[in-house]
């Protein structure tokens, strides 16, 4: 099958790849670009573990064709820490014990980031709504909800 050229930025770095036509963004980011932070869970768009931001929008990378991302800016959990300093969401997930096995965590963090980017001070209901496309088997969600609210508070204190 003919390969398709595609260029986009991944966590701020320019990337250019020849990909199989029909290859998902998830497969390209994980297998070709080596960023394994988006997880391959259900591969059917129901678990949310593969969530990434494409031009700031939350997307399921397992249902997104790589070739549709030409020129896009893609952000994954793998790109959130800067110079070894964790992103406030990562810090809050750690402090609130919001991960056990950790498989859902990158997707949860991207869903939370998409929320906080547009709603910096969300209500609990808004957090629940934002996370409702992501499945977690271990935590019972409560620590994750708390972590997102904690990160929102930390952000607003830094901004103040």
């Amino acid at each position: 099958m003919a390969k398709v050229p595609v260029q986009f930025t991944l966590n701020g770095e320019e990337k250019a790849e020849f990909v199989d036509s029909g290859a998902t963004l998830l497969k390209v980011v994980r297998d070709k670009l080596g960023d394994t932070s988006p997880k391959s869970g259900c591969n059917q768009g129901t678990c949310g573990a593969c969530s990434v931001l494409v031009d700031g929008e939350l997307r399921l990378s397992c249902l997104t064709l790589a070739e549709t991302c030409e020129g896009a800016h893609i952000v994954t959990t793998g790109g959130l820490a800067k110079d070894g300093v964790l992103h406030p969401l990562q810090r809050a997930f750690m402090d609130e014990f919001a991960a056990q096995c950790g498989f859902c965590t990158p997707g949860m963090i991207m869903a939370a980031k998409a929320l906080l980017d547009r709603t910096p001070d969300p209500s609990r209901d808004e957090v629940v709504e934002a996370l409702s496309g992501n499945i977690c088997r271990c935590t019972g969600y409560e620590p994750i909800i708390r972590a997102v609210l904690t990160a929102a508070r930390a952000n607003s204190q830094n901004a103040a």
């Binding site: 014990f97 056990q100 709504e129 996370l131 935590t139 019972g140 969600y141 409560e142």
Partner: protein, 334 residues
């Protein structure tokens, strides 16, 4: 037709580990040349935090900081034998093995320090900060770093230890069936409140209040995390999860996990967790196994609450609206 509130209670005893071939686990501990400690296991951390708790147990026993302990669970082919991390046995069984191994390593470490300080090893103690000193004379001390260097490069000794947990298998008495299937038990009780719609059969869990007695909580935050997550998961088991949602025949059932009903973050019941600590005599620093037990008492408590609400006993899981409606219909026709 109405929404009816019900309350149910259930209590459980839960055995830690199992009664099979002595339920053994083994551990090896050795120091690196710079005085860090490796714990070699073939016990697997499934995400429950086994590595963290084993590092704490080893650090507490040897007398170093938790950060100075490295847990290697890399390979079940090459590591010391472990039955596995299941049956709520990890903290208790493997923890006991780690304590035994760490005690032996600590003894060697103190013997090396005794050579350096020219005292008797039994007069030495650790400060938990990485130093060994003479009891009652803290100024007469040597760092564990220097102790390890001396063992490795001057004395040619290995600061290491072997640990083992094994209990004799208990066979039932032929006449009475009496046996001792486990060496220690955790306990729990749940009070659940539900609303049941007797027209649709739908159950809304209003609250689950749980109390768990788990020996000593070696890492209280991780214990809480386990108990909160388990309490949610078991509501899911009690009410939702099946490969054949609501249909009597298999060919109507789901074909993959997309059609497998699991509650999301919007379906949380008010959850309360109370931890009671009654240290177990044979537990590592008093710990029992909180693992599987965190997802047990809620199921009978919910079944009892549904009975309290609408007067039907459902003895098949999950307790789906269909099963409740069928039972209500039978009740009315009786």
């Amino acid at each position: 037709m109405a929404i009816r509130r019900g309350r149910g209670v259930a209590a459980i005893n839960y055995p830690t580990g199992m009664n099979l071939g002595g339920d053994p686990s083994q551990a090896l501990v050795h120091s690196t040349p710079t005085g860090n400690f490796m714990v070699t296991l073939s016990s697997v951390d499934l995400g429950q935090g086994l590595k963290q708790v084993m590092a704490q147990i080893c650090a507490e026993t040897i007398g170093v900081k938790t950060e100075q302990v490295i847990i290697d669970t890399a390979d079940t082919d090459t590591g010391p034998h472990c039955m596995g991390t299941f049956a709520s046995r990890g903290t208790h069984r493997i923890g006991n093995a780690v304590i035994q191994a760490a005690q032996e390593a600590r003894q060697v470490m103190l013997e090396v320090a005794a050579e350096a300080l020219e005292v008797n090893a039994s007069d030495l103690d650790t400060d938990g900060e990485g130093n060994i000193h003479v009891k009652g004379a803290p100024q007469k001390s040597i760092s564990i770093f220097d102790t390890a260097l001396m063992a490795h490069f001057k004395l040619g000794r290995s600061i290491s230890g072997r640990g083992m947990f094994l209990v004799p298998r208990s066979y039932p008495e032929v006449e009475t069936g009496a046996m001792k299937p486990s060496t220690c038990y955790a306990h729990a009780c749940t009070v659940a409140d539900v609303d049941v719609d007797d027209e649709t059969g739908e159950v809304t869990v209003v609250s689950v209040k749980n109390v768990f007695e788990i020996g000593r909580a070696l890492n209280p935050k991780m214990v809480e995390q386990q108990l909160v997550g388990g309490s949610w998961m078991v509501i899911s088991h009690a009410l939702y999860e099946t490969t054949e949602p609501y249909y009597p025949a298999r060919d109507h059932g789901g074909s993959d996990f997309n059609e497998y009903l699991m509650p999301g973050p919007g379906d949380l019941a008010e959850t309360e967790i109370v931890v009671l600590e009654r240290p177990a005599a044979d537990g590592p620093y008093g710990a029992k196994g909180p693992g599987e037990m965190c997802a047990n008492p809620q199921i009978p408590a919910l079944a009892n609450a549904i009975f309290d609400a609408v007067g039907v006993r459902i003895d098949m899981m999950p307790i789906t609206p269909e099963r409740i409606l069928r039972a209500l219909k039978e009740q009315r026709s009786a």
